[in-house]
Amino acid sequence: MITNEKINSFIEKIPPAPKALQVTIMLLNNGELTKAAQIAETDLALKSYLKSIVNKPIYGFRNEVSEVSQIFGILGVSSSQQTVYNYMITLLSPDEWSLFKLNATIFHELQARLSRKWKTILNHLDINDMDIESAITLLPASIIVADSLFGEKKNDVNLIRTTSDIDLNTILSRLCDNDLFDICEKISLKWEMPPKIAQIIQASSGNKPNDDDSINNLGKWMHLLLFYELSQPIFIDSELNDFIDFNIAYVNDIYEDFATLMEIS
């Protein structure tokens, strides 16, 4: 059974963000890159994550970057904060995935791709806002939540989904009046992430448009970006393509712009 008690228990088990992370983010918020790097160096897991993610091909660095100060220096304040938030999200991910055919490497790849392309989109939209840039980091949390809640019920869920065109988000919402994105919002509250992040994430679900046009527009771009990435073979093989519904009607008005930006032909 998937109940609200189970959801609450999941949220309660989320530890507060580690002290070093909190301080790193606060310093990045203040634009103090050097000090932030010094603190980040003390968290070996964070350091290792930062190294592994920025050296992925999608970041496009010719030589290996190994020092946190170097990484923060190259990324700049906004992207550094985004990357630290990405790390925070990985703290929630399971050691072994049960619903999806995922592992840490593939999950980090998804984070990296979403983050870099989100940055490209924000540049295209001429938006320079640290919180908005970091909003994308919360999106993969929906995958972690889905795996955690549905993993034990994988066979039952798969059977239901062989007879009915129903996504995990809808199942959860109908069972508990809470969907994956509501739970992501709760995570963001627990970690004291800026409220704008949760608003954009809710809009990016594709079925909860925001009254604020600018937030809603960002939700559309994020929704489309998510499915652009979930259409990549690596993520289809991970069984991520249909964990939530793609709402074509929601993104129709920005599609041409998106296709041009991503050079889709």
């Binding site: 989904r161 062989t162 007879t163 073979p233």
Partner: protein, 464 residues
């Protein structure tokens, strides 16, 4: 990717972008084979959640379609697209479209072999005259009323007439069709459509497993719509005679409607009548005559094949069946089950008020039938999960119930398969009234397990 399988149609629904790099990842030949094992006779790729595709992306599906057609009679194609996508597909393939195109899933169901749709008034238009005719023939064989618009202008005019047509078909193309005997269900009667010259091929085109399982789940009247039969030879005659003899074991009746003996030897009619087959001129002679329907067994499903008893193999699997059922209903209703009692006897339903039921048969290495008796409130909860709202519409509740039982059946099939026991499952049957269920199961012994879901009494019955 898993296909959604419903009413004999398997649908793959990729999301996002389709190109030559990723289409292979969406649907593999293994996915297709797994779907075909579920007795589907139509495999479709839905484009409703695809925002971009190119020729390379579709080519991979088209190659899969070709492989399916080589090995099976299943119909294949794309569905759920708008005009822009339809034009793009036609532009890619021009005169070499070897698959079907259905503008929506609903349109596709009209052309499926095992369809549950009631008779529909269908307005159709296609610029290609041969396509128009092919569609009309298929629809008519499926028991629908096709109305063909001969020109685009006529189509536009008719299309705007409100509530005149149940379904409107446009932007649709039929690939290879008409391979199997079309089947439809009307009430408790099953209607098969046969046509042209009937010979030994009827044995290949007729789905005998489906027929046998329809008998097992309680159908007692089988009507062959034979208006378009020109003639038959001795092989077809023997086939129908054998079919009727085996149906007699279940007290089932086989009828022919509209068969003329202008080009068929009259002695064939005697042979068929001796085998128990009845002949009628018009379909309405049966379907509109309630008294006759009752006599022929279509309003009741009593007197099944006698002495079908449980065996050890099936009882050994019982805990798994119950576990499968309980887990599924717990999941769908978000309530916890408690087992109250278990016994081996004839089914007993103490209080039939506000109860509905559904059954599903399985056959193969072992045969059996699972019957579930639900309080309506549990079915309504399941409705909420699958449909998104609680409803009092009994048709919708029964449809949901059928889906739920189908899920249970699928799970039983998987559980047995883990034990190296291979079975197939039948289409689910639903009962609005417990009385008609009791007629189906009378004299059958089985294992009855009484369960409670949040104080709502629920009954599981396993029989052969």
């Amino acid at each position: 990717m898993r296909a959604i399988v419903k009413d004999g149609i398997g649908v793959f629904t990729p999301q996002g972008f389709l190109d030559g790099d990723n289409s292979n990842a969406f649907v593999s030949i293994d996915d297709i084979e797994a779907t075909l094992k579920l007795n589907v006779d139509m495999i479709l790729v839905s484009l409703k959640k695809v925002i971009f595709f190119n020729r390379n992306g579709l080519d991979i599906f088209v190659k899969l379609f070709q492989k399916i057609k080589v090995n099976t009679n299943a119909k294949v194609g794309f569905c759920d697209y708008d005009l822009k996508k339809f034009n793009a597909i036609n532009n890619f393939y021009k005169d070499e479209v070897s698959f079907s195109l259905f503008s929506s899933y609903q349109v596709a169901t009209l052309f499926a072999t095992n369809l549950k749709n009631k008779q529909q008034n269908v307005l159709l238009f296609n610029l290609d005259k041969s396509q128009r005719s092919a569609m009309a023939i298929e629809l008519h064989d499926g028991g629908h009323n096709p109305i063909i618009a001969q020109t685009e202008e006529e189509f536009k005019k008719k299309k705007n007439l409100e509530k005149t047509y149940d379904i409107i078909i446009e932007n649709t193309y039929l690939g290879q069709m008409g391979q199997n005997v079309a089947t439809r269900v009307t009430g408790n009667a099953i209607i098969y459509t046969i046509s042209a010259f009937l010979d030994a091929e009827i044995g290949n085109k007729f789905n005998i497993a489906y027929h046998n399982n329809s008998l097992n789940v309680g159908f007692r009247l089988f009507i062959f719509d034979a208006y378009k039969v020109i003639s038959m030879n001795i092989h077809a005659l023997n086939f129908f005679a054998r079919l009727s003899t085996s149906a007699a074991e279940y007290n089932a009746t086989i009828c022919f409607v509209g068969l003329t003996f202008e080009k068929i030897q009259l002695s064939f009619k005697d042979t068929l009548e001796d085998a128990g087959i009845m002949f009628f001129d018009q379909m309405d002679d049966i379907l509109e005559n309630k008294k006759l329907l009752e006599e022929l067994g279509a309003s009741s499903a009593a007197n099944g094949k006698l002495k079908r008893v449980l065996n050890k193999t099936i009882v050994t699997e019982l805990p798994q069946f119950i576990e499968a059922t309980v887990a599924t209903i717990e999941m769908m209703t978000n309530s916890k089950a408690l087992k109250d009692a278990a016994k081996i006897d004839k089914i007993v339903v103490n209080d039939t008020t506000d109860k509905i039921a559904s059954s599903i048969g399985f056959y193969g290495d072992i045969d059996g039938m699972v019957i579930l008796v639900f309080p309506k409130i549990i079915a309504k909860k399941a409705c909420h999960l699958l449909v998104g709202e609680e409803t009092d519409d009994i048709e919708q509740i029964l449809d949901t119930l059928a889906e739920l039982v189908n899920i249970v059946g699928g799970k039983i099939k998987t559980l047995l398969s883990n034990e190296n026991i291979n079975v197939n499952i039948t289409l689910p049957r639903t009962y609005n009234k417990i009385d008609s269920l009791l007629e189906t199961t009378q004299n059958r012994k089985g294992v009855q397990v009484d369960l409670s879901f949040s104080d709502d009494k629920f009954l599981f019955f396993l029989t052969r």
